[in-house]
Amino acid sequence: MSVTTLTINGRLVSAAEGASILDVAREHDIHIPTLCHLDGLSEHGACRLCLVEVAGSSKLQAACMTKAVEGMVVTTDSERLRTYRRQIVELLLAERNHVCSVCVANRACELQDLAVSMGLHHVRYEPQAPQLAMDASHPRWIIDHNRCVLCTRCVRVCDEIEGAHTWDVMGRGRQTLVISDMNEPWGDSASCTSCGKCVRVCPTGALFEKGAVATNKDPHFVTYLRMAREQKLWNR
């Protein structure tokens, strides 16, 4: 396998061919914030938190979807990027009804962690306070759209790992909504296998278990499943 050499934040780093900037950065302990990305799932490129500066390009690039190229000079942290990332998290907090103090995912929420790590102590934008439903029709889990950030991890894990494709996205703009099957109650879904992967990959309290507090969702099982599948660990 050929190796690519590039510069990230002034450090010369090497990368396997085809690796994304995000892969390379993580391998070298360079932190880039992410939200929609999850190891083991396809890239979505939508949260825009992992945007980085690439020398020679006037446009910011999503680290998760941009391949590391020989000689590339990347900056993952700058005043400008920090400002943009904070604004994005602020926008998310104002978009739906994120009330940490009454949330099952309080202290176990990636959105909350992002806000805290960015030193966000208040949101300057108008809280939209949309009136969104909860679906508690499934016997074990609940989806609360008020806490959904539309990262589509649930959609992707259901489609790509479980192969059920129960979840999908409906509508556009601020009306965008994650739905089960053809916008039917989750509990009535004929395609849902009740595997619970969607609940474990959800970064917020949008998907949670009834009667439990989401202390540790640990979404990293996805990489193990993918590895096991690729290496045919179960095909004996």
Partner: protein
Amino acid sequence: MIVDDIAAVRDREHAARAAQKARIAVCSAAGCLSTGGSAVKDALTAAVAEQGAGTDVRVLGTGCLGLCHAGPLVRVDAQDAAPAMFEHVTPALAVAIVSGVVGGALPAEQRCDLTQPFFTRQHRIVTSDAGVVDAERIEDYLAANGYAALEKVLTEMRPEEVVREISASGLRGRGGAGYPTGLKWSTVAKAQGPGKFVVCNADEGDPGAFMDRSVLEGDPHRVLEGMAIAAFAVGAEQGYIYVRGEYPLAITRLKTAIRQAERMQLLGHRILDTQFNFRIDIRIGAGAFVCGEETALISSIEGKRGTPRPRPPFPAEAGLWGRPTLINNVETYANIAPIILAGGSRFATLGTEHSKGTKVFALAGRIVNTGLVEVPMGIPLREIIYDIGGGIPDGRTFKAAQTGGPSGGCIPAAHLDLPVDYEALAGIGSIMGSGGLIVMDETSCMVDVARYFMEFCRDESCGKCIPCRAGTVQMHEILLKMTRGTADERDLGLLEQLAELVTRTSLCGLGQTAANPVMSTLHHFREEYMAHIRDKVCPAGVCPMHAEDRP
């Protein structure tokens, strides 16, 4: 059908035309049809039959005749007489026109002055067939030298020569961004592998824009011919026209045109008896503005949700179903046949240094001559608005011209002498866009205009990336506060920061340009914003300026 047969059709048409005493063209674009154009056409046809002039006089439904506000329009081309045009034609006047044609003296009323600048200052390339070609007859298009460019390409040129010709013409994408067409073609041509695609983007979505619709409705074959030439040049055998569902007439005429062209072996297998195969299918959009963005359009054609994805890879490398895909806009394809016939270098003599040829604009808003015009690149904005457009009605004064729709900006009076080309418009914070040109006078409030376009982007955001989905919501919220007199200077600061964020971090062109109307109005009309914020006054008297639901 082979080349000789095509020639025979042309000869037959020319002979028939020479024998005709007159041709009466009714504008059959959606604008004139909405004001009674089809009743006028029926009246004309009936009158011709009644007066026994069936062989002498031909009635045809053609593409947009331009002066939309005066519709229905009827144009008369009689042998040995100057062409005449009638405006606001009623079925009764239609009968009188036929009598006039038969009797040799046309009615004097409701005549449209064809020597006015609206007609004389235009330069028609894309719209040259309007008034000449019946949109539903391929024979008319053939008689106007249609498909001659395709014939030339297939019989005399190699694909790389075609690409070179397009490059030499300097043609740039007419969808708005102005990417050099020749460069795009050569990228797709060089891409490896079979199964390439040619796609026509007919998802015209800007408010107030109807250029592409007029071309599709009036001259569908010209678009098909342009696509076929492109397919030959880049090595594709399958094409798609992605047309919005809101254009039923365009869809019907395209379907008719494709059927006619297939029957004459101008599309399909072994076109003109050569080895070249090319099939075109129509895909109908479901009303999402974002599907005009090429990666979202591709996703939609593939049958998926119409959401964009980051580029690279560009569609030229990996587009439809991962294959190299050429995507051009309707007007771009409509320019191809004329370029091939006239030669690229000849085309390049028209326009400015970096913007060649002509541009079709849809004039709308506070302007006397609302309609469709085609002008050479580089023409001063003042000439389009005052000479061709006839100026501002009701004795009011010009305030701003909006180009590029929700991705564009507002141009103030100080820049009226600006030559209209890609660079000049971008230089003052607007864009060429697809060709919508909305004129505003002092009764328009620029804050409200910005709010309107932001509302449009907010509602049309696909919802995939956060800056566009949630940023447009917040920008609209602030603009709304301004129009209600409840915004303060903190809000102005937030608005400017959000504009930068959404521009710099959004995933696709919709978001990246969504703040343009705000930024350009802030740049050119900042004092109007300050009046809303500081003095709680709307100088144009448009905004309500009162709070709602505030403690």
